[in-house]
């Protein structure tokens, strides 16, 4: 949809860097890793994760709501509240019918499922909570956000595993371009750090085993990387057509000028070794933006710190973007936020454009011998006219967003 200009007028973040855009952005710019030993995983084969520090749902949302909402919904409500305030919008006075909600998550509320499965096994079926389903269903992410803020426009949750947050933003862009609504709360949220889910990731061999040194475990593109560190959190963007944002005099963090979505059709978990699917998504996003691949100046890579992803993605970047863009991955700080990653990283990319500052790849010491691209070893000041945020999910789903200044 070349020529469709979408502005981002509000940002909200809950990340392992902190609660709020300020603390999260400061943490990634300082390259401060959020990984640590996690007592919830004490009996697991891998016991490290990136938790949101100091997240107190009762204080942030009231005890009553905290009791009835899974953690992945709690993160989203806190991030959405920040984003809406940042956009200068007021849910008490807005025309809710013109406000959509499009959010992504990989798994919904596994913490609630595990707790209630335990109740089933230990106490019996008649002791399972009636809140089991309304708390854990993935679509509750958008449903509860609508309830909280009175947004009665289009409302959906997308699932493309670890690309979900980015796919939600792309879908929101399409809804705005088609005129289905005037404002969209778009992004992703995830709270998957549970014993069962983390056992599953460990059995796949996907997780870093650097348990003796958790703060250096997530190290995208580094030769010594050995897997990802799971994180949790949410990223929410307020998106509007540029002319609407201008008409109400709203501040714009930047624009979403292109969206590309493809599938590898290759393997259930492994990325295509040459990154063919994500290359197609990059090309689609840039065609959507009406931009030349060689004009990309900055890439916020998927960069998970897994052996397979980082080499395949680096090869793809080298081959596809000939303008030698500066590449970062903020997962060195946040860990892998799974279904929230694409949204949180789109927000970081917009902040890079707005502040002309690319955050460093935390823990990058010596790049993998097969990685031959320009990597951000330290925070780097630079004006950015065109940036990409890449996201890839299990199942081979790829989403790329093209981002530009206001």
């Amino acid at each position: 949809m070349a020529g469709i200009d979408i502005a981002v007028t509000g940002l909200g973040l809950v990340t392992p860097g902190g609660i709020g855009v300020g603390p999260s952005w400061a943490a990634v710019c300082e390259g401060r890793s959020g990984a640590a030993f996690d007592p919830v995983l004490a009996d697991n084969p891998v016991r490290i994760s990136c938790r949101v520090p100091g997240f107190d749902p009762e204080a942030l949302l009231t005890a009553r709501r905290a009791h009835r909402l899974d953690r992945f919904v709690q993160f989203a409500l806190v991030a959405a509240r920040e984003a809406i305030a940042d956009a200068g919008l007021d849910p008490l006075t807005w025309d809710g019918a013109r406000v959509g909600v499009v959010l992504g998550c990989a798994d919904g509320g596994p913490g609630t499922v595990e707790e209630q499965h335990h109740a089933l096994r230990e106490k019996g079926a008649d002791r399972v909570s009636p809140l089991l389903l309304p708390m854990q269903l993935p679509n509750m992410l958008a449903g509860q956000t609508a309830i909280e803020f009175g947004a009665t426009g289009p409302n959906l949750v997308v699932a493309t595993a670890c690309a979900s947050g980015a796919t939600a933003i792309g879908t929101a862009r399409d809804l705005l371009a088609l005129g289905r609504c005037d404002v969209v709360l778009a992004g992703g949220s995830e709270a998957m750090i549970t014993p069962l889910v983390m056992a599953g990731f460990a059995q796949m061999g996907a997780l870093s085993r650097r348990e003796d040194d958790p703060t250096h475990a997530s190290r995208p593109f580094d030769a010594e990387r050995d897997g990802f560190v799971a994180g949790e959190g949410a990223g929410i963007l307020v998106m509007e057509r540029v002319e609407d944002a201008r008409a109400r005099g709203a501040h714009q963090h930047g624009r979403i000028i292109g969206y590309g979505a493809t599938a590898d059709a290759h393997h259930m978990t492994s990325p295509h070794p040459d990154g063919a699917g994500v290359e197609a998504a990059v090309r689609a996003a840039l065609a959507d933006a009406g931009a030349d691949p060689d004009d990309v100046q900055h890439v916020n890579a998927h960069g998970t710190s897994t052996p397979l992803n980082d080499v395949a993605e680096a090869r793809m970047i080298k081959r596809t973007l000939q303008g030698d863009p500066l590449v970062t991955s903020t997962k060195g700080v946040t860990g892998h936020l799974l279904g929230a990653a694409g949204a949180v990283e789109a927000a970081f990319t917009l902040l890079s454009i707005e502040h002309e500052l690319v955050p460093p790849i935390a823990n990058l010491v010596m790049p993998d011998a097969e990685v031959d691209i320009k990597l951000a070893y330290s925070a780097t000041s630079m004006p950015i006219d065109l940036a990409l945020s890449n996201s890839c999910g299990f199942g081979g789903q790829n989403t790329v967003l093209a981002l530009a200044p206001a």
Binding site: T62, R64, R68, R127, S129, P130
Partner: protein
């Protein structure tokens, strides 16, 4: 019995304690149909009182719920 109900409502269902008065209706303390099922399960597990969610839905106020609890516990 009122005190026991208050404790369950505030500690387990996280209803704000100041809202829980004998005259308070289910709406006043935000007990929807889901929360009523939770309350029924808790009355059984915490106090060993059998009150179904259907019965609780017919109780208009906290005082009515207490009356129901007293009747059912007297039977035991």
């Amino acid at each position: 019995m009122l005190e026991q109900l208050k404790e369950i409502l505030s500690n387990k269902l996280k209803v704000s304690p100041e809202a829980i008065t004998p005259e308070a209706t289910r709406d006043d303390i935000e007990l929807d149909s889901l929360a009523v099922v939770e309350l029924s399960l808790l009355l059984k597990s915490e106090l060993d009182i059998d009150v179904s969610d259907d019965d609780l839905l017919e109780a208009e106020t906290v005082a009515d719920m207490v009356e129901l609890m007293e009747k059912r516990s007297a039977k035991v």
